[in-house]
Symmetry: C2
Subunit: 149 residues, 2 copies
Amino acid sequence: MAYVTKGIRMRIGDLAARTGVSVRSLRYYEQQGLLTAERSSSGQRHYLDGAVDRVGLIQQLYAAGLSSKTIAELLPCVVDGRATPELLARLAVQRDDIDRQIAGLTDTRNRLDSVITGAGTNMLTGRPCRAEDAPAVPNSAKHGTEASG
Amino acid sequence: MAYVTKGIRMRIGDLAARTGVSVRSLRYYEQQGLLTAERSSSGQRHYLDGAVDRVGLIQQLYAAGLSSKTIAELLPCVVDGRATPELLARLAVQRDDIDRQIAGLTDTRNRLDSVITGAGTNMLTGRPCRAEDAPAVPNSAKHGTEASG
DNA sequence: CTAAAACCTGACATCGATGTCAGAGGCAAT
DNA sequence: ATTGCCTCTGACATCGATGTCAGGTTTTAG
């Protein structure tokens, strides 16, 4: 029972609508080897249901700063279970990089938040950062700085 | 006693060396209104000590995805204590956006980590992702998913 | 004094994901 | 068959931060 979940006949416009990603980008992903599509006899792309999740994953990796090339190299492991030790190592490198990003962003977030809540020290000058008017800007819970374990 | 900490006479090459940012970028920052420098009579830039931290802050905000324009608009608040309610609101918007980024990255990190540690479900297919050879890739502590809280 | 090194401005190049446009063909409904 | 929408390929445009080069001036070291 291979390749059962077929018959969905999702076209590129549908996939774009379902993922919020432009048609242009979907074609680009395919060109970069990130996404595959069956082709009808007339050349039109048809996607399986799984494509929706796949596009989501691709977007997530893009958001983490990976390039198309890197994603293309790692996807076989992530998606098909094809893992070589070397691939796993590359994956770990990316994970650690993301850890650093998280740590940096968390720090930035807290600095911004300090300014917003007027919690004293003002990033560089240490001067208070208060509007004449009351700010009334809610939503402030400090993030912990735990990242690269 | 205004503007005491002077006399450091740091030139652009020195600042570049101290911050790890290229000379080209430092000039660009100035052009974008993110960084100011005194000029010697011959036109050479001289920076105060504070410039080092300032460049660091700029980099941090770039890393958070802010554009030069946005940074230029927010820096007066962040650095000089010039906060209007509107500026604080903009700042809060950025903070919340960073929160979303952190949440997304944390999720991505954990998905990658799951694949790395072979902890069962394989992102999309649910197939195990194990190398023939033992992976031996350390460093794995799940991040909590707390962000916009 | 002189040569090397650093600086100045201004311009053009780059990279990567995406937008957009043009011309041609496919598909469904009337 | 015609109309309207969707799709195809291929090409060119964009944006933002940075690299790089050129031609000229300043500073520094010998």
